[in-house]
Amino acid sequence: APARAADLTKATLRLKWLPQTQFAGFYVAVAKGYYKDEGIDLTINPGGPNLLAENLVATGADTFGLSGGLDSVFAARDKGMPVVCIGISHQMTPFVFVARADGPVKTIQDFKGKTVTTWFTGANHVLNAILAKNGIDPALVTIQPQQVSVTPFIDGQVDVITATRYNEYYTIKTRMGEEKLRTFVAEDSGITFPRDTLIVSETTAKEKPELVKAFLRASIKGWKDAFNDPKGAVDTVMAIAPTLDRAHQEFQLAEAKKLMVAGKVPEKGLFWIDMDSVKITQDLFLNAKVISKPVDLGATFNTSFLEAIPLADRKP
């Protein structure tokens, strides 16, 4: 039975970025009242270039966070921030590295001596790992911070560009044509870099486990709806951010779905935390000295909230 307004618990979800269909499930859950049904009055707060969800969740400014990814969760724990990961959204690396099909870069080995741009906010670790796996000294590659705009790549000033599958790749594809592009995927080098992590503070995890469970239930419901009715989900998000491009958002949702249902998700359900890939990622960070020491994985990752939800409900 729907809870009455007076009984609702106020909570906020801090996103890692601006409103877009990458986060459609949460918006759908709000629009359909799934959080209310669970007794939560949820407000979705967008992120942005100068905000860090971990920080806001750790200090209690926000209840939940859909944060950068394993990289930011590890970094936060490494700095002593009491955040707990309660779910992972993107089960595989959301980035691809893009070169021109007719350009000089045909293989990863060709990165040597070329200009590669990437974001120094996580994607750089993937790039470094790929280079390492392929035995390339990163010093031989000209790695630069990536522009806001993909135009430098389109104009040929950059040889390889980093693109999220759901954002930049769409932009490049629509401006150049997909056939003109060659992509390099991290998984091909045996690297998986799960991103878009759901986090809460240790306090919330300890004191309000029911709230966390309720939040996950409603969120999964929202996402399943979004997958089933992508058009409606895009409408919901476009109502929040009407200046967005519909075609792009439809593409984005489809890509997000691919990322979210990858890996163990078909068996374990949405937002599943695959501890194996978590460990692999931690090693990657330790090697790259992104974190100074191994973090307490048991305290950082908590699957109990997910597991409290029947598996059938969690499966996409």
């Binding site: 270039p49 100068n50 920080n55 750790a58 930011s72 700095k79 911070p145 806001v148 705009s149 430098p152």
Partner: protein, 258 residues
């Protein structure tokens, strides 16, 4: 205009004012340190000053490079903006009909807050130094343009007439009369622009850059290194003050007659 009671404003010893100012800052820093340590505030809420200073020392190489980067952007943009601002004001003064076009255009462009241009400028000029130069120049040129124009216009009509009576042309009047008259106002514009230029450079860096204090802050936020964020802020503040002081000093030297 030197009538007796005007001197009532007693010239207090400068040293006392200075002492008080230093005392204020010291008290503030001590209170900050006390609060941060006393309440065991985590670094992401408020790091202790001592930690920040230690981090500045530890990361001095990075911060120095970043400060150099930002100062370069600010300085180049500043000089560019100042030249454009003064140049435009000179054009309007020498060729009066251009005023009807340039002034409304400048006012219109100026009515948009500078930071609002940053997305466009970043898209147009990329995240390299170019976009920072443009942003800083944009911010500085309007301030300087408006103050220079006000300065050129402020000149006493009678002084203009006097020089005209000596047979002086527009250029001679600009050079001998308008420019020196406008200097205090131009200098005031230049002075307020110093701090602005650094802030605009940093703000733009935070939206995308290859380096600089803003970029350091941005990276540090994402790497959850808040001591580093504060360290960069301290350095930015110090750089601003130094730039401000430098221009103020130059102003006192050049405009000695005030």
């Amino acid at each position: 205009m030197s009538s007796a009671p005007e001197m009532v404003g007693t010239a207090r010893p400068r040293s006392l004012t200075l002492q008080r100012g230093v005392l204020g800052i010291v008290l503030f820093v001590l209170a900050w340190e006390g609060i941060a340590r006393g309440f065991h505030l985590p670094a992401y809420t408020l790091p202790a000053v001592s930690d920040i200073l230690a981090s500045i020392y530890a990361k001095r190489a990075v911060l120095l490079t970043a400060a150099g980067f930002t100062l370069t952007e600010a300085l180049v943009g500043y000089v560019l903006g100042a030249l454009i601002g003064i140049g435009l004001a000179i054009v309007i003064t020498l060729i009066p009909p251009t005023r009807a076009v340039l002034l409304p255009a400048a006012t219109a462009i100026n009515s948009v807050p500078v930071v609002a241009y940053s997305p466009l400028i970043l898209l147009w000029f990329g995240i390299g130094m170019g976009s920072k130069f443009v942003m800083v120049a944009l911010a500085v040129s309007f301030t300087v343009f408006l103050s220079a124009l006000a300065g050129f216009d402020r000149v006493d009509r009678r002084s203009v007439d006097l020089l005209r009576s000596f047979g002086a042309g527009r250029l001679a009047i600009l050079w001998r009369l308008r420019l020196p008259t406008a200097l205090p106002l131009i200098a005031a514009g230049l002075r307020v622009s110093t701090v602005r230029s650094l802030i605009v450079a940093i703000v733009t860096e935070m939206l995308g850059a290859y380096g600089g204090l803003g970029w350091v802050i941005y990276q540090a936020v994402l790497q959850i290194d808040f001591v580093q964020v504060w360290g960069a802020i301290f350095v930015a503040s110090a750089a601003s003050l130094a730039f401000f002081g430098l221009i103020g000093f130059a102003e006192k030297r050049i405009i000695f007659w005030k």
